[in-house]
């Protein structure tokens, strides 16, 4: 029972989750402990260090922003590598960059002499650099050295500024170098960060007009911002092909880094706060990313947004979107920065709450009260007499201090989806069986669906069954849930499901068995009656067995359809089958061996008789030739015949026909030759005898 109920509620939750995803209000939450534990799970060092300095920086920077993890275990293995890179004279700008940005976090002990050497090295590299990435790495490295307290000054700041600016395009994007004609949004972020570093490294003030031009470029870059349906904003490349393509997250993070860095040195930028809020929502709507790079970019970009000089986005979120009337929940709203830090003093106003299905407002202009202890805005909804259901809530934030409007971005009206749930009462439930023509005189049994008593009914195919009930919300209104089903299950597990129709007052179903005979496959017997009522806003959704009904249906005619086969226990269907004992052709009965041997001996008896008879006839070898050559041929003739007979014996025992024929051919030729000589000699001698 609990499982069925859980299934019904789960199904309802699935519906509302699907609806939530297509609605315009996304349930965004600020960075929370879920991100912290994800960071600890994703960034796992192998043998005390990370595979590369870049990954080390990503891990440590994420830990630093989130306030988790220990850097002491990593520094042991990584500091020597960093030192090695700094001391080497053949390091590229990228290597210096990777090494130097770790120093601040790791706290490696490095002498100022090394820094000065590296600084002079970097100055030389900057002079020779011609690509955006080289300039970026060198300038940022120099900035990190300055951050360590070593004096590092960019001598030709204007020149470097100019060479970076020269690579910009008219739409606000940047090229990677002068040879490459393709521009990239990611490169724009890189370039802005480099320009900001140049300005802060310059010994003399950089020309304000140049800075103004870059501000103009930033505004053009923001014109190319893209948006999703839920109001989040992001940057992406114009062309998504190519090996240089980094996804929207990396590109947006790069632009955010660059723009906030530039705003920090250049003063106020003309970017509306809504855009910053949209970018913040983009990063927060990812949730908890699954890869290290995604997590790093998300956290790093949000840390730039947390305290930037353009506008700090304030996120309005609902910790709980499902409020229960039974447990007297309050509507709670949180307004914080992206990392969950406190917002400046403000008031949250619920401008409108409208029912999701009908879009009619049920609440207007309710001001939420502020709980200073928990930093939460709340509203008591119980006295407001709102019924159960799904609602769209519209909030508006008003800052107390008008000065804060320049600093913070509140984003006008924010939408959120909320469920109000409660216990639904099933009232006036009645069930009964009646004859087709006597509906009004039917005797109905009362059902009490809160208790588990089963009713038993009996009907034949000429009668009908009727079930009626009312559903009442806690506030006493009629309730129409998503699912109201009646299921009849036969003893043979064949099920039939019916949906109940609802009128203004009640739910009713009349089963006319005469029309349903064929649908029921003419199966008579006991049918179990189950009622399922469920909705997302209903706390007591249920699937209850009401009882059973014994149906007496006529016999199925010849051509009636058979009930569908019910699922069989897979182990019985796919389990091992009984062993088949193979019956081979029984061998023929052979006679007993003794009999066979006896007859073998008997067969040889005529041969013996033949030989005895020959002796009695006086057979002799007088006709055998006496002289040597004919004698030889005679011997060979007899030997040849014996050889052929031996060949036949071998043929019977093991040879095959072809071998035998081959041998026979040879022997036959021999035999013919020899036999001819012998017999012709014999013929001539007998002719001589005759004439004599």
């Amino acid at each position: 029972m609990a499982r069925n109920r859980g299934f019904v509620v789960g199904f309802a939750a699935l519906i509302c989750a699907a609806l939530l995803s297509i609605s315009a209000a996304a349930s965004i939450r600020p960075i929370s402990d879920a991100h912290r534990s994800a960071a600890l799970e994703l960034f796992v060092p192998v043998d005390g260090s990370f595979p590369s300095l870049e990954e080390t920086y990503e891990a440590l920077r994420t830990f630093q922003i989130l306030g988790v993890g220990k850097t002491s275990d990593i520094s042991g293995a990584t500091c020597p590598v960093v030192l090695d890179k700094l001391r080497s004279s053949t390091s590229s700008p990228k290597e210096f960059f990777n090494a130097l940005r770790l120093i601040g976090i790791l706290g490696c002990q490095i002498g100022s002499q090394t820094f000065e050497n590296v600084a002079s090295h970097l100055q030389a590299l900057i002079k020779d650099a011609d690509s955006l990435m080289d300039l970026y790495y060198s300038v940022i490295s120099l900035l990190h050295i300055k951050g360590q307290g070593v004096s590092a000054v960019l001598s030709d700041a204007e020149g470097v500024f100019h060479s970076i600016k020269a690579l910009s395009q008219s739409d606000g994007r940047w090229r990677y170098d002068s040879n490459n004609a393709e521009s990239s949004t990611y490169a724009a972020g890189i370039a802005l960060e480099a320009l900001a570093s140049v300005v802060s490294l310059a010994d003399a003030e950089v020309d304000q007009s140049k800075i103004g031009i870059v501000k103009h470029d930033i505004e053009k870059l923001f014109d190319s911002i893209k948006s999703y349906d839920d109001g989040t904003l992001y940057f992406d490349e114009k062309h998504v092909d190519g090996s240089e393509y980094k996804g929207p997250l990396t590109t947006t993070a790069s632009v955010v880094r660059g723009v906030t860095a530039f705003a920090a040195v250049a003063g106020k930028l003309n970017i509306p706060g809504d855009k910053m809020l949209g970018l913040a929502k983009f990063f927060l709507s990812i949730g908890v990313p699954g890869s290290t790079k995604d997590l790093f970019h998300q956290i790093d970009a949000l840390s730039c947004l947390e305290s930037n000089r353009i506008s700090i986005p304030l996120i309005l979120s609902l910790p709980a979107t499902v409020l229960s009337l039974t447990s007297k929940d309050q509507l709670k709203v949180e307004v914080t920065t992206v990392f969950g830090s406190a917002a400046p003093p403000l008031t949250v106003n619920l401008v409108q709450a409208s029912s999701y299905d009908k879009n009619t407002p049920v609440l207007e202009n309710q001001e939420l009260q502020f709980d200073t202890e928990n930093n939460i805005h709340y509203l008591d909804i119980l006295p407001l007499k709102i019924d159960v259901g799904m609602y769209t809530l519209e909030f508006e934030i008003s800052l107390h201090d008008p000065e804060n409007l320049n600093i913070y971005a509140t984003g006008g009206r924010t939408n959120a989806l909320a469920f109000l749930t409660g216990t639904i009462k099933v009232d006036k439930a009645q069930i009964g069986v009646f004859d087709s023509d006597a509906e009004s005189a039917a005797t109905m049994q009362k059902l009490d669906l809160s208790q588990d008593n089963r009713i038993s009914l009996a009907a034949n195919h000429l009668q009908r069954m009727r079930l009626t009930f009312q559903l009442v919300t806690p506030l006493g209104h009629n309730f129409k849930p998503h699912q109201v089903f009646l299921k009849l299950r036969h003893e043979s597990k064949v099920e039939h499901i019916f949906a109940l129709e609802s009128s203004a007052r009640q739910f009713k179903i009349i089963l006319d068995f005469l029309g349903l005979v064929e649908k029921f496959y003419y199966l008579s017997g006991r049918y179990e009656i189950e009622l399922a009522i469920g909705d997302a806003a209903m706390e007591n959704s249920f699937l209850r067995v009401l009882g059973y009904i014994d149906l007496d249906l006529p016999e199925p005619p010849e051509k009636a359809s058979r009930p569908p086969p019910q699922p069989v226990d897979p182990y019985s269907r796919f389990g091992p089958k009984p062993e088949i004992s193979h019956i081979f052709r029984s061998p023929e009965k052979r006679p007993p061996k003794e009999l066979s041997f006896a007859f073998l001996a008997l067969t040889l008896v005529p041969l013996v008789g033949f030989l005895i008879g020959l002796l009695r006839l006086g057979v002799n070898f007088k006709g055998f030739p006496s002289s040597s050559v004919p004698a030889l041929f005679s011997i060979l003739f007899h030997a040849g015949i014996a050889a052929v007979l031996l060949l036949y014996g071998l043929f019977w025992l093991k040879l095959d026909l072809f071998t035998t024929l081959k041998a026979l051919g040879l022997l036959g030729v021999f035999l013919i030759f020899v036999g001819h000589r012998t017999l012709s000699h014999h013929a001539s001698t007998s002719a001589k005898l005759k004439t004599n």
Binding site: K589, R590, F610, L617, F651, H676, S680
Partner: protein, 151 residues
């Protein structure tokens, strides 16, 4: 040999006729007559067999050898048929092969006898060695087939 048998049968039938042409004896001698007839029938059969034997003794030795060989072959075939009658014909091919070997070789021997017999005017010009060579060759071919069929 056939001529001898014909001569002997003529003698036998003439002796029977002689007996039947005798004048009728009065009634008291009829029983004696029958006894004499039966006796004479038995003794006539004996006389026939004796004369057959003596006539056969006149045949040349090589023909007697061939006759003996034929008798041997047929006896072997009969024994095989009796065996099959007792145990059933399960490896039928073997049975056929054995019987036909005997019968085949007997037939070839009979052909040899016909060709070698000097009294046979048809094969006067055929040297007996040639007939013997044919006999050997045909026997070898027959036995190749028999061995193949024996299984």
């Amino acid at each position: 040999m056939i001529v001898n048998i014909v001569q002997l049968t003529n003698q036998f039938s003439s002796s029977v006729l002689d007996i039947s042409c005798e004048p009728q004896v009065p009634f008291s001698d009829s029983g004696k007559q029958e006894l004499i007839m039966a006796k004479s029938n038995a003794s006539d059969a004996q006389a026939l067999v004796r004369s057959l034997r003596s006539a056969y003794a006149a045949t040349p030795t090589n023909l007697k050898i061939i006759d003996l060989y034929v008798v041997f072959a047929i006896a072997t075939a009969i024994i095989q048929v009796v065996y099959m009658g007792i145990v059933g014909s399960f490896p039928f091919n073997s049975f056929l092969s054995g019987v036909l070997s005997c019968v085949g070789t007997a037939v070839l021997a009979v052909c040899l006898r016909i060709q070698v017999n000097k009294e046979n005017k048809e094969f006067k010009d055929l040297p007996p060695e040639r007939a013997f060579a044919d006999f050997v060759l045909c026997n070898l071919v027959l036995h190749l087939v028999i061995m193949n069929f024996l299984g």
